[in-house]
Assembly symmetry: C2
Homo-oligomer: 84 residues x 2
Amino acid sequence: MNYIDLLGFLAGCLTTSAFVPQVIRTWKTKSTHDLSLGMWIAFCIGVLCWLVYGFILEASPIIFTNFVTLFLAGTILFLKIRYK
Amino acid sequence: MNYIDLLGFLAGCLTTSAFVPQVIRTWKTKSTHDLSLGMWIAFCIGVLCWLVYGFILEASPIIFTNFVTLFLAGTILFLKIRYK
């Protein structure tokens, strides 16, 4: 793995794991007033599209990162709808 | 452009434009209590890494989508810090 791959890997880890603190915060506070419903709906549909795109191209990095992101962003969307 | 490229383009548009309603909401309400600071810091650094990665690979779709995303996510981070 060269330094360019490493940078891509770091970028993917950051933009995926970034959602963890938001899940934890929303889970604990059960307060979602400041979260935009539109953002999380559009984002989840977009990540789902990336996932299908990854499956079509059989590109495991795209599949893996978007699978994890969909799980985390989907959890936030679920909490937003539940504690609206 | 075939249907696979179209799907990727749709995915990119969705995961980028998704941040617009959050920017609008936060800008209007000036309320950021439910937003996780950790999420937006990690996400902005991650998108910055994707941007550098795109420049190294000279991949214009990666550069363009991450440039727009960084602008939008950076605005949310700025508002989060300002209205903490």
